[in-house]
Symmetry: C2
Subunit: 413 residues, 2 copies
């Protein structure tokens, strides 16, 4: 059984919007044992949408469509689906009731334009959108299933979770797919591959190993498909073989991110963390606090983006800043130590560097970064020489910083 | 002239990686007057890649391909391109020199596996990758151009900018496309559309208006294609007509983000800003400091994620926190006022709320947020009732907060 995703909208093709919907839907389908064969992004043009539907139906059994369901002129998905299925729009009472509920929540009246949002193709089962005004639609035609959903991510996600995935599980018998991923840092993709030659040669045919590099992290994903009991047993054996090879570089498994791993370590130890950020400008704190429940172990931060703020909040001596500059080992260490005192946490992360594009010197070019880690047993700092790209420097500094803290948390037992 | 983008990799289809490359390439091509007809993501399978290449070549003149160029077993783009063009891999001296330079930079020796990365299909012009070990490839075949690039975003971006776009401009005569976008907040898509009925009816045939809703923002994009001089003149007239209608909701134009607009306002006024964040956990600061040159106007922040940190850093009375809770008008106002004092800035943003999923009560359900703005003329605070999704609550709070500051910056003249 194969699925395809079609995302509709000129904004995707001109790059004004990044298609995050497809990746999320791909993840969900995968977890339910459904392989996504292809993702296709097409324009708001009738013939293009019709072609994409015809082609996808030749390859796949399930076609998920997002976008083009708004109330405006450029939203043509509904009428194009009518043409594709040779049917017409009909007024749907349930969709209209939902529309009224949503509008009354905002204290607004329904305009004639909004009323058309309660119309759906005659041959579909409407999927009521509790978060928005555009209904989803479930079609069955010539043994294929088509699902049209709104393009607004949180509306699509709610509809997928509450309506579409349960209906898919009812309608299709799905094979069993299992993924296990190990996250590594500190070794390049090709060096990992050299270490894994024998492992890959000995992999059973149902298994596949993929290398996914991103920033300074390489994720190794082991995938298998087949009979659930056999696959689960073999996966454990194979995954342990993989871990035995990559263990020195491993920092986590599966969808764990560094911030989740750190959160779990801190919770287990019943300890807290704070940050003192300069060049990362709050990004480390943002990563930590993205995690639900982080208030259990995250106390707070100081972001000191100027010399006076470093002196006032973190007691960094003004003459040290003048003499050595903010990007130095001493300043990184003082920031980490003072943050511990100020915020009363068990661990601290400090960052100070030149994110760029301006501010570089011969001694300290753009990409020079010091990261400090503070704990009850003292303060350490490490220098990194990153590249010339501002966002990448912010991102990489945060990843390195979180990984340094992770190592300290593991070592300090 | 049409272009298509093909992104290769199982990680895209199972949703482990979001395809951000396509959007970026789409933007770049668009700015050069090249329309992207379709974006297709396919698996690491030979037949699938071959099919996608054949189909894209039937529709488009230029095919940009990313991914599958690494040194590992699952990277099959190069040998698949050989099959497609009926050619073979040859060792390329220039690519090997580049490989040696990159490896020596990291003090590493070239393994036999890495040496194969200097091999390219015989019929291509190699594009040297100064940031990585995988060369790009430029093919011309039956009047069509194919370009294969690495999937690592920063490597692909450097190659597009330095090599691919200049070569495309040499090789193709491109029509003129112009986009103008206006950013609005505080009005829904369908209400905007009602106000724009007459404007849309009167639009010249070369023009198209698109509605792009995202979080609490709706972007309106006006696009025209044709003769440069005519289009530029007509665009100005049409864009002014559009602005006249949406002016009360407008906060920026084109690719400006709120953080860039605020940065420009602060620079013009020669003023500074700081933040005092609770529920946004550093995300407001991160947005502000993402902008290059933000150290000119951003002083720093306090992130206070616990009661004691709010009391210690921002003098929020402990009994007030006990009595009213952290999520209240009083606390938002004190945080904004105290941040001004502590960090010595001209303006401040404070956020305090329940991001969720836990922590909600009957009085203050998840999504309850107070945002404060401080300035020399006083402190104001506003309550927002957002939804149940943690990341969305963090993101929306940051957008609302930046927009409140923008309004204050414009009003306080």
């Amino acid at each position: 059984m194969k699925a395809e995703i079609i995302t509709i909208g000129d904004e995707l093709l001109i790059g004004q919007v990044v298609d995050t919907n497809s990746a999320w839907m791909g993840q969900q389908l995968n977890e339910h044992g459904i392989k996504v064969h292809q993702i296709t992004s097409v324009s708001d043009e009738e013939t293009h949408i019709l072609d994409a539907l015809t082609e996808a139906a030749m390859r796949a059994d399930l076609i998920l469509i997002t976008g083009g369901l708004g109330p405006t002129k450029d939203d043509i998905t509904k009428i194009t689906l009518c043409k594709y299925f040779n049917t017409q729009l009909v007024f749907n009472e349930e969709a209209f009731e939902n529309l009224k509920t949503i509008f009354s929540r905002f204290g607004r009246e329904i305009t004639p334009r909004n009323r058309t949002q309660a119309e759906v193709p005659e041959n579909c089962t409407p999927l009521i959108n509790k978060r928005g005004t555009a209904s989803g639609m479930w079609f069955e035609n010539n043994g294929k299933v088509y699902v049209s959903m709104p393009g607004v991510p949180h509306e699509m996600k709610a509809m997928m979770t509450n309506d579409v995935l349960p209906k898919i599980k009812e309608r299709f018998v799905t094979p069993f797919i299992l993924h296990k991923t190990v996250l590594t840092q500190g070794i390049g993709e090709s060096f990992l591959a050299d270490k894994l030659v024998q492992f890959e040669e000995e992999l059973p045919p149902a298994f596949k190993l993929a290398y996914l590099p991103a920033s300074s992290i390489v994720r190794l994903r082991l995938t298998a498909m087949g009979d659930e009991i056999t696959i689960r047993k073999t996966m454990d054996v194979q995954f342990e073989k993989l871990l035995a090879v990559v263990h020195p570089y491993m920092f986590g498994v599966d969808e764990d991110s560094l911030e989740v791993i750190i959160g779990n370590l801190l919770k287990t130890k019943n300890k807290t963390v704070c940050t003192a950020e300069s060049c990362t400008g709050g990004y480390v704190s943002h990563l930590i606090t993205k995690v639900a429940g982080s208030s259990e172990y995250f106390v707070g931060s100081t972001i000191t983006y100027s010399y006076p703020s470093k002196t006032k909040l973190l007691n960094v001596p003004a003459d040290l800043l003048e003499k050595r500059g903010a990007v130095s080992e001493e300043v990184a260490k003082i920031m980490a130590a003072e943050a511990l005192n100020l915020l009363g946490a068990d661990y601290s992360i400090s960052t100070t560097g030149i994110a760029g594009p301006g501010g570089g010197t011969t001694d300290k070019p753009v990409g020079t970064v010091w990261i400090g880690i503070g704990s009850k047993s003292g303060v350490t700092a490490k220098k990194f020489q990153l590249g010339g790209d501002r966002s990448r420097n912010i991102e990489m500094t945060a990843i390195y910083a979180l990984n340094m803290l992770r190592k300290v948390l593991i070592e300090e037992n």
